[in-house]
């Protein structure tokens, strides 16, 4: 279990514009976000000695960013071959490195030309090698198709409805309307949702996250050092990474997973809350990985905000709205802000806890949950100011 409660903090954040066509190499996006994060912390490149990122062979290695920025001693440069499940893992990895003395101040980032370059939702190769030979030949190819299978199972077991999923999309859009960096800011109604095109039943177009070009970065350092830096530190009090049994050979392969109505969150929640020394009732805001509307439902249950099967009902009655009991994805999420593979959730949590979120600021936000992942494995953190 994570045993570094409050020993490290996020001291800086940086991000690029989010767009459909950046017109730039991914490395350039990564470097911009990382440099902004370093400068936001009041540091210069000489103060940084680590870079950690994750990608699906659609980005640049950590060392490429360190090289472009002229970092003299980037000793801890690490890349995870992973999806959104790693969006909190890279921060936990930076903390592990700092605690072990492998680095002092680490920049974590995710950069992608996810719309103009390699599109994760766009399908896979026609030659089905490995485990894919048992999925792709049946036309089961894209992430929306994969995740729709999980959503259906939840509907079968618990009666989760299209109206509940639509309510999530509408609520997150409300937040994006207030967010100047969000890619989708036009107000949305439940009718708009219900009338949006069915892509892969049970998912309509508006159940599915955006595709984005952009990059996000944060600076992680010891709490002691963070207190001497420019910004109010945001402490990492808890963290967890993992999943359940029989996760399969890759993110897509969940043939052997015990029950698709429940995801990784149910398996890491106990460690997460124990490591932070608090429970879900203590959370002020939650930035929950929303590659699809449905993944929020599953994680609300898994992390214990409600009972198993009650996630759909939990989202009703504006409970997850900005003025509700548990504001969720106050930036608009992957559904309406941008799809920077979940790392934009960390940026939003930090800005909220610093009180820098402008018109979408949740007053008095002190404790935030950030989560990453939707299927068999994932990561999460508890942050506080």
């Amino acid at each position: 279990m994570f045993n570094a409660r409050d020993k490290c903090a996020i001291a800086g954040v940086g991000f690029t514009d989010y767009s459909r066509d950046s017109g730039r190499p991914v490395r350039s996006l990564a470097s911009e976000a990382c440099l902004k994060a370093i400068q936001d912390a009041g540091l210069s490149v000489e103060d940084v000695d680590g870079f950690v990122s994750y990608n699906f062979n659609d980005s640049v290695p950590a060392i490429a960013v360190a090289t472009e920025l002229g970092v003299p001693a980037a000793g801890f440069a690490v890349d995870f071959l992973a999806g959104g499940n790693a969006a909190n893992l890279i921060v936990l990895n930076a903390i592990a490195a700092i605690e072990a003395g492998l680095a002092k101040t680490v920049v974590c980032y995710r950069a992608m030309n996810g719309r103009s370059g390699f599109r994760l939702g766009g399908g896979r190769e026609m030659a089905a090698h490995g485990i894919t030979q048992f999925t792709a030949p049946f036309g089961w190819i894209t992430y929306p198709q994969a995740m729709a299978m999980w959503c259906r199972r939840h509907m079968i077991e618990y009666g989760t409805s299209a109206e509940q999923l639509g309510g999530i999309a509408v609520t997150l859009r409300e937040n994006a309307v207030l967010n100047e960096r969000a890619m989708q800011r036009a107000p949305l109604t439940l009718d708009d949702y219900m009338n949006s095109r069915m892509i892969v039943d049970p998912f309509r177009l508006l159940d599915i996250c955006l595709e984005s070009d952009g990059a996000c970065a944060v600076v992680v350092t010891s709490a002691e050092r963070a207190r001497d830096m420019k910004q109010k530190p945001v402490y990492v009090s808890g963290g967890a990474y993992g999943g359940g049994p029989q996760q399969g050979e890759d993110l897509f392969d969940a043939i052997r997973w015990p029950d698709h109505a429940h995801n990784y969150s149910k398996y890491i929640a106990a460690d997460l809350w124990a490591s932070a020394g608090i429970g879900p009732e203590d959370v002020d805001i939650a930035q929950i990985y929303d590659c699809f509307t449905y993944s929020i439902v599953m994680q609300l249950e898994g992390f214990g905000f409600c009972k198993e099967g009650e996630g759909g009902a939990f989202t009703e009655g504006r409970r997850i709205a900005r003025d509700g009991a548990l504001p969720v994805n106050t930036h608009g999420g992957l559904l309406s802000e941008a799809y920077i593979h979940g790392f934009n959730h960390v940026i939003e949590a930090v800005e909220q806890l610093r009180g820098q979120s402008g018109p979408r600021q949740v007053e008095g936000a002190e404790v935030a949950l950030t989560t990453a992942g939707a299927m068999t494995c994932g990561s999460a953190m508890v942050l506080h100011n």
């Binding site: 896979r124 036309g139 049970p202 043939i255």
Partner: protein, 142 residues
Amino acid sequence: MGYNKPLPYPNSETKPFWDACRDGILRIQRCSDCGTNRFPPTGVCPACQSDRSEWIEASGRGRVFSWIVVRHPVPKDVYADKVPYVVAIIALDEGVRMVSNLVDIDVDSVQADMPVTVRFDKVTDELTLPVFVPADGADRGS
């Protein structure tokens, strides 16, 4: 034009499965030590870690565990002629699951737990795909 959809590339572990499909037989692995059935094929039994296994003939009967209806084709040029189609996770009577297509059914009539049986569709000289159809007596819709 030839078959343009994804083709499985069998390896030494999976070839017996695909070979059997060509003969109209649905095969799964069984651990020779503890008897646990497993699919997809692997080298080691996750229940007892034995590396001894044999292929057994499955009944071909199962139930719909979950399903989706693909309406937007991806890649478009490959699946435009197939949508809407059903992909289902089938829970076989032998206690393992398999992903396949559910065919010969109205796509809006699929139900959880509905009984299904395997059917073998030859798509090329080398490849026969195991697909599933509603079992006798199950509601196929209109």
